[in-house]
Amino acid sequence: DVKVTQSSRYLVKRTGEKVFLECVQDMDHENMFWYRQDPGLGLRLIYFSYDVKMKEKGDIPEGYSVSREKKERFSLILESASTNQTSMYLCASLGGFFYEQYFGPGTRLTVT
């Protein structure tokens, strides 16, 4: 079974803090993704990575950066957290028979 894990289920940070969200997958997938999910807006792609050290912006990259130093790990960084970044953050990797995305359990981030 593919496993995608995220470092925290719940996180509370203060405005202006630097925030790191970690995602690890155990199936040697090349493609990994970060989304944020907000009520009524569905999932929106922040960044994705198609190989180590390779990244591409998604729909809403502003205020975020990413790091992929190892194949299994994809990190999302909020350089200076703001209250409008309060959201559910979902990580996914791509693979499998149907080339589907496998999701982690999500991190609910609250910025106060």
């Binding site: 009524g40 996914a92 080339y99 999701f103």
Partner: protein, 112 residues
């Protein structure tokens, strides 16, 4: 740049009834996928249908695709309380099949 829009936004049915959700999208696709999300968790892949397919079955799930109308439907037969979840359609970006665009989801409540 939301690609998929689900309809209805919310659906409440009794156990044993069938549930139908619809998805419309805007541009040409290679495939369309459906995912389920239990409350506060990550998404789980349910089924994929390719653009040259019109119908696909998996257990109690039946998916149809009409590329001329740019729409798809997901039918869950003989629903159970455990089917209570949000359901999302996701389409690829045409040429770039690694990225998915998710709709806003249908919240299904199955009453026991």
């Amino acid at each position: 740049s939301q690609q998929g829009e689900e309809d209805p936004q919310a659906l409440s049915i009794q156990e044993g009834e069938n549930a139908t959700m619809n998805c419309s999208y805007k541009t040409s696709i290679n495939n369309l996928q459906w995912y389920r999300q239990n409350s506060g968790r990550g998404l789980v892949h349910l089924i994929l249908i390719r653009s040259n397919e019109r119908e696909k079955h998996s257990g109690r799930l039946r998916v149809t695709l009409d590329t001329s109308k740019k729409s798809s439907s997901l039918l869950i037969t003989a629903s159970r309380a455990a089917d209570t979840a949000s359901y999302f359609c996701a389409t690829d970006w045409g040429g770039a099949t690694n990225k998915l665009i998710f709709g806003t989801g249908t919240l299904l409540a199955v009453q026991p």
